[in-house]
């Protein structure tokens, strides 16, 4: 499913115009992104939580050349599924 399909589904479920749904979705994503930029975590219970983690700098070695490289630290976005969601996975068979 992509964003457009999501908008279609939601506009049906909520009896709202697609334009309205699309705008609200965009706003929501913007809010989550803004919070993450502020280094805050966002939790939606029963879905999961987005958080910002730091990856430390590390020395990595190219096994082919043996050259060492210093990889700088990074901030990354991580999503952890909530327990409710994970439980659903247990019963899941594709």
């Amino acid at each position: 499913m992509n964003s457009t399909e999501l908008v279609t589904i939601l506009s049906q479920k909520l009896t709202l115009s697609k334009a309205e749904v699309s705008k609200r979705l965009e706003d929501t994503v913007g809010i989550i992104a803004a919070e993450l930029e502020e280094n805050n975590s966002v939790t939606v219970s029963s879905f999961g939580t987005w958080e910002v983690n730091k990856r430390d700098e590390r020395i990595s070695v190219n096994p082919a050349t043996g050259k060492k490289t210093l990889v700088p630290p990074r901030l990354v976005v991580k999503f952890k599924a909530s327990n409710g969601l994970k439980d659903k996975l247990k019963g899941f068979k594709s």
């Binding site: 499913m1 992509n2 964003s3 999501l6 589904i9 939601l10 479920k13 909520l14 749904v21 705008k23 609200r24 979705l25 965009e26 706003d27 929501t28 994503v29 913007g30 809010i31 989550i32 992104a33 919070e35 993450l36 930029e37 502020e38 280094n39 805050n40 975590s41 966002v42 939790t43 939606v44 219970s45 029963s46 879905f47 999961g48 910002v52 730091k54 430390d56 700098e57 020395i59 050259k67 060492k68 490289t69 210093l70 990889v71 700088p72 630290p73 990074r74 901030l75 990354v76 976005v77 991580k78 999503f79 599924a81 969601l85 994970k86 659903k88 996975l89 247990k90 899941f92 594709s94």
Partner: protein
């Protein structure tokens, strides 16, 4: 900063941003996440623009050990929810570290060899863009360590070719000698720069006595007409120019205007940052601070200048901007610190 936002917070923020009631926002959000939930299982992959992609990932059986009993245990194959953030989102989040690059390490430096942390930073760094709030201490620490490593890399660049080295266990590269040499070099460099500045000052004083209004700021030493007061020799072919100069000098009441400078302006394009402009205009990203200072009345947040804003580009001489002068760069770095403390 390090806060935990929950659904209620999202509801309030969405209601405000979208101009809808909290009830409407709540209904929307609940339905949104419910739909996401269902779709992850039905479609196995859900991609949300500007947020990221959720995928169902199958992980294989894995042998492990029961921590309490110590007996071997098999974790069966199962599904996990994988998340990959949207590229632009990742970039935005990583902004504080955006200017860092991976770099090669010389062979002598290993994780055990902690010497590189002893080196003092000599040259002020090109600062990364930081969020409007203060930088977490851990980031500052890491950044300083990173600069030290860059210092080492530069110091070591010439060393890599040398193969014959004493390989005694306790042998350390004589960093202190290197530091002394660099310090001396730095002093010479400063001395040269100061001399240069003084020369330019003298020339600009001479310049303001002689040249008429419509010239540009920097006086050119080759074409500088000589003032009559000076003891310098006058070449025959400049006699005419000297005569012309005498006249303005004999009108002492006439105020000498500063050479007119056209005000240089620039409009910010989307995604263009002050640092990029500073690099183009002055040769070093750190001088963004002067772009900000010059335009403080129209720039609220130096980290986010809206596209379309027209800013004034001050002439480099106004703030003594010189990309080749470490003192100038250090000064800019200091200002940056002050600005960011606000």
């Amino acid at each position: 900063m390090n806060e935990k936002k929950n659904l209620q917070d999202l509801i309030s923020l969405l209601a405000e941003k979208s101009g809808i009631t909290k009830k409407e926002a709540e209904i929307f959000l609940r339905e949104l996440f419910r739909t996401l939930d269902e779709s992850i299982f039905s479609d196995q992959s859900v991609k949300i623009k500007s947020l990221g992609t959720f995928k169902l990932v199958l992980v294989d059986n894995r042998e492990s050990v029961n921590v309490t009993t110590g007996e071997r245990v098999l974790i069966p194959a199962h599904y996990k929810i994988g998340y990959t953030p949207d590229t632009r989102l990742s970039e935005k989040i990583n902004l504080p570290f955006a200017l860092f690059e991976s770099m090669e390490m010389p062979d002598e430096i290993t994780e055990e060899n902690e010497n590189y942390r002893e080196i003092i930073i000599e040259k002020p760094p090109v600062s990364p863009i930081v969020p409007s709030d203060s930088i977490p201490q851990s980031v500052i620490d890491n950044f300083e360590q990173y600069q030290e490593l860059q210092k080492i890399r530069k110091a070591n660049d010439g060393q890599e070719k040398r193969r014959h080295r004493r390989k005694r266990k306790d042998w350390r590269f004589p960093w202190k000698w290197l530091l002394v040499l660099l310090a001396i070099g730095g002093v010479f460099w400063l001395y040269r720069t100061i001399e240069k500045e003084e020369k330019q000052e003298i020339q600009s004083i001479m310049y303001s006595f002689s040249k008429p209004k419509n010239q540009t700021t920097k006086p050119d030493t080759d074409t500088l007409p000589l003032p009559t007061e000076s003891i310098l020799l006058v070449r025959p072919d400049t006699v005419d120019t000297v005569k012309k100069i005498e006249k303005p000098a004999e009108q002492p009441q006439k105020p000498v205007p500063a050479p007119a400078v056209a005000v240089k302006k620039r409009t910010i394009h989307p995604g263009e940052m002050l640092t990029v402009i500073a690099l183009e205009e002055y040769g070093n990203k750190i001088f963004w601070v002067y772009l900000y200072l010059e335009n403080q009345n129209i720039i609220a947040n130096p980290n986010n200048v809206p596209a379309g804003t027209t800013i004034v580009i001050p002439p480099a001489s106004k703030y003594d901007i010189d990309a080749n002068d470490p003192a100038s760069v250090r000064e800019a770095s200091e200002r940056m610190r002050k600005i960011l403390q606000q």
